[in-house]
């Protein structure tokens, strides 16, 4: 098995080598909220961005760069201020959320406007969560701003870069920003484990079922295929490994 895993890695080695200089592992991350330029490309809200569309998390380069594209030629569109990047309207306090598709030990996260570092958050050399949020006060920077967010990885020479276009201080909305991706500073933790689902039936989250047990859910009857404790997200229609419709 171990031998087989190396095959796809080797096959794509040529591509990866242009992105990662000395990094042994693939640390990846980008600012998902407010949407960074690469997130806007990936969402298709800014068209014709090229390769970045499917890898917004790969804007990786040596530490210390101050560009939006980490100097990677095929991502140069990210550094092109004339592309009409929509700016997200925010208040003076902004919560940036990184989505980390690989979670590497972190030196720190830095935020720049122009040449000025406006915030820094220590990573303590620890592995971050799958998502990381930082609240930055941009009260001193009203109006349209381009924020460069930098994730400095602790155990490689590299960093990840995301540029985020903002309209700071509420007020005007010069480049109308579609609302769906307005930042959600504190995502609401949903559904406590024992909350029953909407459609109802005899199926009950939190109950232990044995193979052969029958329940109703959404007007249909299901038979348990394998013993388990029912939980939200494992409603019978969604988990055919656990329930068969009778």
């Amino acid at each position: 098995m171990r031998r087989r895993v190396t095959i796809p890695l080797m096959a794509t080695g040529a591509v990866l080598s242009t992105l990662t200089v000395a990094a042994p592992a693939q640390a990846h991350g980008y600012v998902s909220g407010p949407p960074s330029r690469q997130a806007l490309c990936a969402q298709g809200r800014v068209p014709d961005c090229g390769q970045i569309r499917y890898e917004p998390q790969s804007v990786e380069g040596p530490k210390g760069l101050r560009s939006c594209h980490a100097g990677i030629a095929q991502f140069a569109v990210l550094n092109d201020d004339s592309r009409g990047w929509p700016a997200t309207s925010v208040g003076s306090s902004v919560t940036f959320t990184w989505t980390n598709t690989a979670r590497h030990a972190t030196s720190n996260w830095e935020y720049f406007i122009g040449g000025t570092r406006v915030a820094v958050f220590n990573g303590g050399g620890q592995q971050p969560g799958a998502t990381v949020s930082h609240t930055v006060n941009l009260g001193g920077y009203p109006g349209r701003q381009k924020v460069l967010a930098v994730w400095n990885v602790a155990d490689t020479a590299n960093a990840f870069y995301s540029c985020v276009d903002l309209q700071v201080g509420g007020g005007g909305d010069p480049s109308p920003t579609p609302s769906p991706t307005r930042p959600a500073p504190s995502p609401t933790p949903t559904a406590a484990p024992t909350t029953p689902p909407a459609p109802g039936g005899s199926w009950t989250a939190g109950r232990a079922y044995q193979a052969g047990d029958e329940v109703t859910y959404g007007g249909r009857t299901y038979r348990c295929r394998q013993a388990h404790t029912a939980i939200p997200g494992w409603e019978p229609p969604h988990v055919p490994a656990l329930w068969t419709q009778v």
Partner: protein
Amino acid sequence: MRRLPTVALLAALLIAPGCAARTAPASPAPAPPKVTATSGTEMNGLDVVFLATLAAHTEQTLEMVRLSRDRVTDRKLRTLVAAIEVTETDELATMRGWLRDAGPAAAEAARRHDHGDHGTGAEDLARLRTAPGGEVDRVLLALLAPHQDAAADLARAHQTVGADPRVRDFAGRVERSRTAEVSLMAGLAPGGRA
């Protein structure tokens, strides 16, 4: 419709030759859920990134399960682990099918990130592999709970940025199920014999 599970399996083989052999036999072979909803693709790039990331994360879950399932002593934990194995095996097939549907460019990008160091590291897996009999429950809980919590995080974040309603719904279920699993695991005394 009958052909679709085969297609999903094929996609798994195409996208990740290194993984298919490990994941396929684990399933008691139910049809992957929701494949019937496949109708073109409304996926955006972030949907693709999410699915590729979670697919790799799920492979690690299944790896942890395989390394420990026969040595877990607590009955409730054993039941939970078995249910995680079959549900996530199906989810993995579904994710790979959607990635295939998203087209060659997306599949290629996904493949490039497929075997990276997502979530739980190799040392942790080694710790589980070498855990002595009496320690397996404790080590598994210590690794699997934060691992599933990370999946819930990814899924939560994705629901505000994804485009494809199928993927968003799926992310919602992933968030809910992983969160509930973490709660269940918190209730299991490490090494206890319920």
